[in-house]
Amino acid sequence: MRYSGFRIIREALTGHRGWGPAWRDPVPQAAYDYVIVGGGGHGLATAYYLAKTYGKARIAVLEKGWIGSGNAGRNTTIIRSNYLLDGNEPFYELSMQLWEGLEQELNYNAMISQRGILNLCHSDGQRDAYRRRGNAMRLNGVDAELLDRDGVRAMAPFLDFDNARFPIKGGLVQRRAGTARHDAVVWGYARGADRLGVDIIQNCEVTGMRIEGGRILGLETTRGFIGAGKVGVAVAGNSSRVMAMAGMRLPMESHVLQAFVSEGLKPLIPGVITFGAGHFYVSQSDKGGLVFGGDIDGYNSYAQRGNLPVVEDVCEGGMALMPMIGRARLLRIWGGIMDMSMDGSPIIDRTDVDGLYFNGGWCYGGFKATPGSGLCFAHLLATDSPQATAAAMRLDRFRRGLLIDEKGVGNQPNLH
């Protein structure tokens, strides 16, 4: 069923009895050519592009819970491509361009809203760093604009410009950045993949990998053995657990990141704003809630909930940036589990096991990467060679010393 304005009017006049489920609930077949482990945004996007762009058939996505129940449902919905390093920036720009055409591509309203991202700077040194970042972005063909103090004031007059410790000196803007509706991204890719014949199998947890002679033959699951020609793992947060089934140790730790949403308020914040003196970022959802977050808690965790010191730290950042936020009441706090990689950048690569491919290590930046990650992982699965923009995201870069370290803090995952 195609969605359209005409369709909505027709359904409204006939009592909305014509809507069907957006995707099937198939029984798993004995074997597939491609099995994607993980029914989050990345896994579903991978299946979609495998079927659509690379014309592959007999594809399944296995999800242990319901689709989108992991980090796809736990992020702060920001999309942007304002990275510094050449190993990252072209990839995130590919992703950004896919976001811009996503709703037409999927015939699904993902509520993509390009309201811009404003990274504030609070010192002359930081302004220089942002100028460098903006120039690096422009060298990669991405829009970036350095604003002075008055420029920032015109965009966001409610900020605390004369904060004694963190005066606002200016900001770097990417106007094409913004937000998307996270669940709709999952549902849109699921519906798109399903229409191309992909089997989305929910409540099916992978419990083991059958590997013989260095080649993967299939997966043991809670719904029986499923044979596979190629297996792509996209389970960020739990990558170490799943890849341990293939005897692999990964260059990453799992950490918890908390996010927050306030009660609904009238339109207030024009886009995404980030505080440069602490770690705090905020946007406003279409329902009016302020969606914000900050640092990871900083210790290994699989708990999907964090502790109060980070709540305090994030709220202090918010208060320093926009004191009016203190009047808003907090509605919800939640935690998600991040693959924190050793250099803060992701991995999309083959493994030493024939037919087993890995996608993970997204740290706390995976949501914006969803379309690009899907396309690049599908490219790798279909062609056995990396997509051009993801060529640096190799698993062996740690061994070879070719890290992609945006923050320059080295192999300390809780600092990325």
Binding site: S240, P251, S254, Y299, Y302, Q412
Partner: protein
């Protein structure tokens, strides 16, 4: 989180900084023939299991001791705390 310090009693986890897996105590021999491979493993690869995890915490805003904390990272429950010095000596480290 409260970390029951073996010398000081329960302390707020905020007084500590976190390093990572306690396996970092076992620094490889830099003169071994396979030192490059072992340092790659030491520097970059982690078991990262769910459930009980032994990890190094530094009491930076306290007595500046290193602790080995055994913590269930699925529930955040702290199971056992030892002085890292004792752990290292028991593992045959010289000093």
């Amino acid at each position: 989180m409260l970390i029951p310090h073996p010398l000081l009693g329960p302390r707020d986890a905020q007084e500590f900084t976190y390093l990572g897996d306690a396996a970092l105590i076992d620094r490889p021999d830099g003169l071994a023939a396979d030192a490059a491979e072992r340092f790659f493993d030491y520097g970059y690869l982690r078991d990262n299991p769910p459930g009980e995890h032994r990890e190094l915490w530094f009491h930076e805003q306290g007595d500046r001791s290193w602790l080995v904390v055994t913590r269930n990272i699925t529930t955040h429950e702290i199971v056992r705390v030892e002085l890292a010095r004792d752990v290292a000596l028991a593992r045959g480290r010289g000093r």
